[in-house]
Symmetry: C3
Subunit: 434 residues, 3 copies
């Protein structure tokens, strides 16, 4: 695996391209294959599994779905809809079927988007047995009356729900979670952008010389996977998690969106909003709402974890969302790399975010005698670095973390952090006893 940062965007897009054609769902071989490919980048994944019928909180693990092929043939035997063209053509979790029927009978099993006539919608029926096809509305419009033959070659049988996890231990037990979902078939932004960025971020963090915090990456089937995962590690997360993010809709070139955690003012929120603000790029910050992605589970009342979601254009707000138009052209190498860089900046802030105490608390420390102050100067005439030192020496009193100091000062953590290290080396700052 190549690693030059220069080519990271191309690498991210390449990985998405490789994963795109695989038919994924909540369960089954496509999901397993996806986890195996992501492990090449993220590192060895620990697999968690739950058998069909098992109970995880209020939920029951469903049958496993194994899909092979699906098509509709017209009366001449020509395939007018074919899953080989796009795996979106089959309604997710369709039960098997093979029969002949009239167009009128067929219509009840066909799903289109009249407003986007050339797009195939993405639909599933996880928890009620049915079969169906999704197709372009313009193609449906052109189907002549007559008899059709339909085939969905798939099994719905006991199996497992599975997910993959990487834990990168740090010096502290405090944890950071990155969660993303791997159950969407050929959808690029609301599907692959999250997993490829998470995998690459895991690789970069694995190679980091020092980690103050412990990092947990989890690749789950949406909803059921997050619920199952919480049933196993939820209590630990409640004790240790300091920040977490659901990564999704992260590859389109739109402006960044940060969706806050349920509590709204957790470290996850403060760090993400700081990084976005300091990026000086247009972005929006929205309060938590309980629709959306797996933050719904992480932020359910009993857990109420510090988990937000840093995205580009949010699910449900772009017309290509959950259609065949959310394809490999909709995401770009540049956008993927930029999002990855934003997550790297976020990690840098979390790593730097210690609570420090100044050792000289009565009056200012005399910086001059330590060689930290310009010896020639007009009183009060301080350049930016001296001003930053002053901020740290005044505000780091053990009551607020570095992010709070940075926010008060209107300065980036990225600028204050190296100066804090210098002041620690000079004995003027030290870790606060919390």
């Amino acid at each position: 695996v190549g690693t030059g940062t220069a080519g990271l965007g191309a690498e991210l897009h390449g990985l998405a391209t490789r994963l795109f054609p695989i038919t994924r769902s909540l369960t089954g071989p496509g999901l397993r294959e996806t986890l195996a490919i992501l492990a090449e980048t993220a590192g060895s994944l620990e697999t968690h599994r739950w058998p069909t019928g098992a109970h995880v909180f209020d939920w029951t693990i469903p049958d496993e779905w194994t899909f092979r092929e699906a098509w509709i043939k017209d009366s001449w035997g020509r395939k007018v809809v074919d899953s080989a063209e796009s795996n979106l053509h089959v309604l997710g979790y369709s039960e098997p079927v093979h029969r002949r029927l009239s167009l009128d009978e067929l219509r009840g099993h066909l799903h289109t988007i009249p407003e986007l006539p050339h797009a195939i919608p993405y639909l599933t029926s996880y928890y009620a047995r049915r079969w169906g096809f999704c197709l372009q509305h313009e193609r449906l419009r052109d189907l002549p009356d007559g008899e059709y033959e339909v085939l969905i070659d798939a099994d719905l049988e006991p199996g497992h729900v599975e997910l993959g996890e990487v834990v990168l231990p740090g010096e502290s037990d405090d944890e950071v979670l990155f969660s993303t979902y791997v159950c969407h078939p050929s959808l690029a932004n609301n599907g692959l952008s999250g997993p490829v960025i998470a995998a690459q971020l895991a690789r970069l963090l694995r190679d980091r010389p020092r980690r103050r915090l412990t990092y947990r990456f989890v690749f789950v089937p949406a909803t059921i996977g997050a619920v199952a995962y919480l049933s196993r590690v939820g209590d630990q997360l409640r004790k240790r998690l300091v920040a977490g993010y659901v990564i999704t809709c992260a590859g389109d070139p739109g402006a960044f969106t940060y969706k806050r955690s349920r509590r709204g003012d957790t470290l996850a929120d403060r760090a993400a909003e700081h990084v976005l603000r300091e990026s000086r790029t247009a972005h929006s910050v929205i309060d938590f709402f309980p629709s959306g992605s797996d933050e719904r589970q992480y932020c359910s009342p009993a857990f109420d974890l510090p988990v937000g979601s840093l995205m580009r254009t949010m699910y449900g707000t772009y017309p290509e969302y959950n259609t065949s138009l959310d394809n490999l052209d909709f995401i770009t190498a540049e956008a993927l790399e930029e999002t990855l860089a934003m997550y790297v900046a976020l990690v840098d802030v979390l790593e730097a975010n210690e609570t420090l105490s100044v050792t000289v608390t009565h009056g200012e420390p005399q910086l001059g005698k330590r060689g930290l102050y310009p010896t020639l100067g007009t009183a009060g005439d301080t350049e930016e670095k001296v001003a930053d030192m002053m901020w740290l020496l005044n505000m780091c009193d053990g009551t607020r973390d570095l992010l709070a100091v940075a926010e008060y000062a209107g300065r980036p953590v990225a600028a204050l952090a190296p100066i804090a290290l210098e002041l620690m080396a000079a004995g003027l700052l030290q870790a606060a006893l919390v």
Copy 2:
């Protein structure tokens, strides 16, 4: 009494029209007659009385004023001012007088509004003995010099201060108060609009099949009545009152005004502001100030009750205020009905405003297996009702009432309340143990 909702506005205006000519004051037969007429709509009123000379907190109950007639005759014996034309012509609580005097001597007893030359001002002298007349400035201007005869046929003698009360018990001891004043003579908006709406609201609530809360309506002479009432029920209100409103200036077609309680963030305030916001009509919300109406007493420091005031155009802010121009044309059937409807919506919010707890707290409840979720759908594709269910199931964790959930979600209580009932029926929500 007719009751079709369609004609409520006409009924309200009709009742005001019937009450308009009665000469009311703090005490006396006009006030008693008014209470008797209001009881026809509101239901039987319990009367509370305090005798002249009694002490209620810092106040002393005044003499009772019985007014019969008042006029000024010119030297030809023609009545140039006559209380038969308007009961505003007599200075409220005037002592009796019958004498002849020159125009110059008379002037010290005449009150006008030079800026509104054709309006009669409304003036009183409750707590200092004097006599006087109020008249149109243009009429005063035309009075020739000469001798005049004045008569005020009235008694000021020991009697009672009285007020009327209706209590409509509900399932809970928690109480809601509606207070309005009945001491103004021929003034329509700052006078009759409050009592007629309160009486009608009492009737509607009496007929409601279920009341969670207990409702208390009180018709008082302003200030002294509210002080006296508090001396009797203040301690109980301090324990039980969850919300209260002074109804006044409620019949003109101007925009709604909500004046907050002294504490500013009580249930009274939150409910009123919610109902106004969701009404999508222009309105203003203003902080408490200790001038105004009987909220001054309810919000005195020892009580500090959750009492605000939901009005249309506030007292003191319209030129017709406390003049003969605040007449039956100044209030409209439509405005009266609309204000009543706003109070009904307020009651609906207060009734619905329980604190609920979700029964599935670890991850989301699986709505699908309970038939509450569309079985066919793209992940995250939720229609409004599903989104409302999600809000309730995530936010109802026993720490906030339904209003707080609605405000967080930016949704009307009116929309969430029926869905909450459905989720209670499905066993997913229950009353929180407080």
Copy 3:
């Protein structure tokens, strides 16, 4: 010393003019002479001193600097730079020197401002030994190559750091601090404006018939003086200081600037912001930052005192700052007097700011029987004074000070304070038991 208020501005400017030519520094005869002159206005100053080499918190008291004269002569013996022209020409705390050297050798000891070619910069080297001259950039540009003779006749020898203090005791131990610095040589706004206003304010307060609070004025050499002062009185200030202000940059005609204390919501901040708001003049309020003046020391973490700074155009934000252009023309008699008046208004607010309790807490007090209410009036028709009484009688419940009542009511303390006295006389308000 003349005292007519009419001439206060001229008097302030006159005092600044008298002090302007003295060569001041952190230590030495110029500072002592300045304190002696200020004492003529402020009253007898108590002197605090610390010997060279003493430790005050993290700092060491430096040598005393005695300056006599400094010049540069060209090869013809003509003085091209001469401290007799401006004491800014010598780098503050220069060590003595007398030698001949080439222009190239000399350049390393010459300081100018290329962007302001006709201004002499103000520079010091307190804590590193060096010598140097400050001059107009245009003069440096004109110096021909050749040999120059330089003389700095000065001593750096053990001595003292000194400061002057006036304490004006009041009825209470609660203290107010005014701190200003006296170490700047010929700089008018960022130098003399603070001391002359502080001295005059001390005189006015000394003559005040009654002082509820105790006032402490301190005239210090910047930084080292404030640190030393805190080492002596810091613990007492921590217990007793209710508000404090650093007075500086107070004589230019620019808009007022208030820099908040570190805590941001202390009485110092609330009073200053109130006075500025009620002045109805344009002004700005900025949050604390730990560069600037002696508030850096007062607001160091261990003290965190309620000390802000009420200025005109803040240090560092005007081009004349710390140059020879900050001269006696840059400050005006009008501006000095206006700033003094603002400080007097601030003292008036602090003096008036008691926490009061209404004695009638159940319902309103009956103002009429006490002759405090117009006996003739329409209900709710209250003039401004009655409204102010209502505010006080409702809001003064022992939980908030007069400033909080004024802010809630949107009224000036200056208007409420005399009415509060009247209500105290009537037995309706009393000092709250805190």
